[in-house]
């Protein structure tokens, strides 16, 4: 599974950063930065799913390889 992040859609709600800090950081203005190249380790899949399911802007997507 891969995680996709759409910077254009992100409005800095910071839900992903709070739920999955292993996968997302924030820049100085609070917009998300995806920390991985798209591939999510198995043990972080649940957190990736949480980040996607709680993004108010639908900016995060989990897609099959």
């Amino acid at each position: 599974m891969k995680i996709k992040y759409d910077r254009e859609a992100c409005q800095g709600h910071n839900r992903c950063y709070m739920l999955a800090p292993e996968l997302f950081d924030t820049d100085d203005e609070g917009y998300a930065i995806l920390l991985v190249d798209g591939t999510v380790a198995a043990e972080l899949m649940e957190k990736a799913r949480l980040a996607a399911d709680n993004c108010p802007e639908y900016a995060i997507e989990i897609v099959a390889d």
């Binding site: 800095g12 709600h13 839900r15 950063y17 399911d53 802007e57």
Partner: protein, 404 residues
């Protein structure tokens, strides 16, 4: 302070009034009804106002800054007369492209990492208030008056390096602006604008590391911010940062007072707290924003005309069953929660991390101190009218017995 008397409501579909006490008393039920019967309601009040209640319509408007302007974000009898692009309180009243410029000046102060340093101060503030309640020995306490209303005002005063004692004044101005929408004449010396002009002039001669000093020194491409920009942004921080969060904290405590299972879960399960906080925000989102129609267009198939007001009831969007499973239930451990409590699109609440931190800390501290409590007079709980919804009177009976 007496509130304006509003004419009786004929029906919610064609004559709603978000400033009427009947709306305040039953807003969630009204939204649920309208979503089923008339998802885009209209009223002739305030010179023509629309009320979309479905998530899809609220989201579409929030994302469409071409047709919906933020020059007016509080519905009033008149239309705001402030020249573009700034509006009265940038960036909330600004449209693109100026909006992003004004917003970027603020964002670094409100990022999650910047807000983390205020957490100990918020916690200390809550503990002082709880100490006072505990020392009073009273078993009946109005949590809105004694606790929730004081927390955000003290933090924002600290951020702006203004005296915490001015909190009563701030709340008076907010009440006038948000609940009475400018209905009464006031002396210039008694206005928020007068207060801010005075404080900003004073600060310019005595700069520190606070947010007012920062704005006084900020620039746009080398040009210092206009005086009205600095003043408008500080007005925004005071108006938007206080009764919104106060409302969210109060609603959370109101909920817990009536739901012993959720109180127990909160106390016993630390891992549930971040989810519970987001569910408080979803289910009791305090803020309804507004827009002015900038160009004729449509909302969910209803034609709207330039100059019409449009309310953006984020709390109604948050209860739309098309967007949320079990939308009408408070689910303390909800793990799929794309709530819009802080808005959607480019105007996402700039202070959301501050609000979330204050809400979390305020509930944690209350629950640590008083894990067992209930409404002492449910019928006297009073919800605010207007665009910010929260309990303004919240009488509780605190059971101090063996639980502590």
């Amino acid at each position: 302070m007496t509130d304006v008397q509003r004419p009786p409501i004929r029906d919610w579909e064609t004559d709603f009034d978000h400033g009427h006490p009947d709306y305040a008393a039953a807003a969630p039920e009204i939204w649920d009804q309208l979503r089923d019967t008339c998802p885009v309601a209209h009223s002739d009040r305030y010179g023509g106002t629309w009320l979309p209640t479905r998530h899809v319509d609220v989201a579409a408007i929030a994302h469409d800054t071409d047709h919906f302007s933020s020059q007016g974000v509080i519905v009033t009898e008149w239309r705001p007369d402030v020249p573009a692009p700034m509006g009265y309180a940038p960036p909330i009243t600004s449209d693109p492209p100026f909006h992003q410029i004004a917003r970027r000046i603020l964002l670094e102060f409100f990022s999650p990492k910047a807000i983390a340093r205020w957490e100990p101060i918020a916690r200390q503030t809550c503990r002082e208030l709880l100490d006072e309640i505990e020392a009073s020995g009273a078993s009946e306490v109005d949590a809105a008056q004694r606790y929730t209303q004081h927390i955000p005002v003290r933090i924002i005063a600290d951020m702006l390096a203004l005296p915490r004692e001015d909190g009563d004044k701030f709340r008076g101005w907010i009440h006038r602006i948000m609940e009475q929408t400018g209905s009464e004449e006031v002396d210039w010396e008694d206005t928020l604008d007068f207060y801010l002009q005075h404080k900003i002039a004073e600060r310019r001669g005595n700069l520190g590391d606070d947010l007012i000093s920062y704005l006084c020194q900020a620039d746009i491409d080398g040009t210092p911010l206009l005086d009205e920009h600095v003043q408008g942004t500080i007005a925004l921080l005071i108006i938007a940062g206080i009764d919104t969060t106060w409302s969210a904290i109060g609603a959370g405590i109101w909920h817990l007072a009536q739901n012993p299972d959720d109180r127990r879960r909160w106390s016993e399960d630390h891992a549930v707290r971040p989810f519970a906080v987001e569910e408080f925000l979803r289910f009791y989102a305090p803020v309804t924003m507004a827009r002015l129609v900038a160009q004729d267009t449509q909302i969910g198939g209803c034609p709207v005309a330039r100059g019409d007001w449009v309310l953006l009831p984020f709390p109604s969007a948050n209860r739309d069953p098309e967007e949320f499973e079990r939308a009408d239930e408070f689910v303390i451990d909800r793990t799929r929660n794309r709530h819009a409590a802080f808005g959607l699109g480019i105007h996402r609440c700039a202070g959301s991390n501050l609000a979330r931190m204050e809400l979390t800390v305020a509930i944690e501290e209350w629950m640590d101190r008083f894990p067992d409590f209930e409404l002492s007079a449910p019928e006297t709980v009073r919800w605010s009218t207007g665009q910010v919804r929260g309990p303004r009177e919240l009488p509780l009976r605190i059971n101090r017995g063996e639980v502590r």
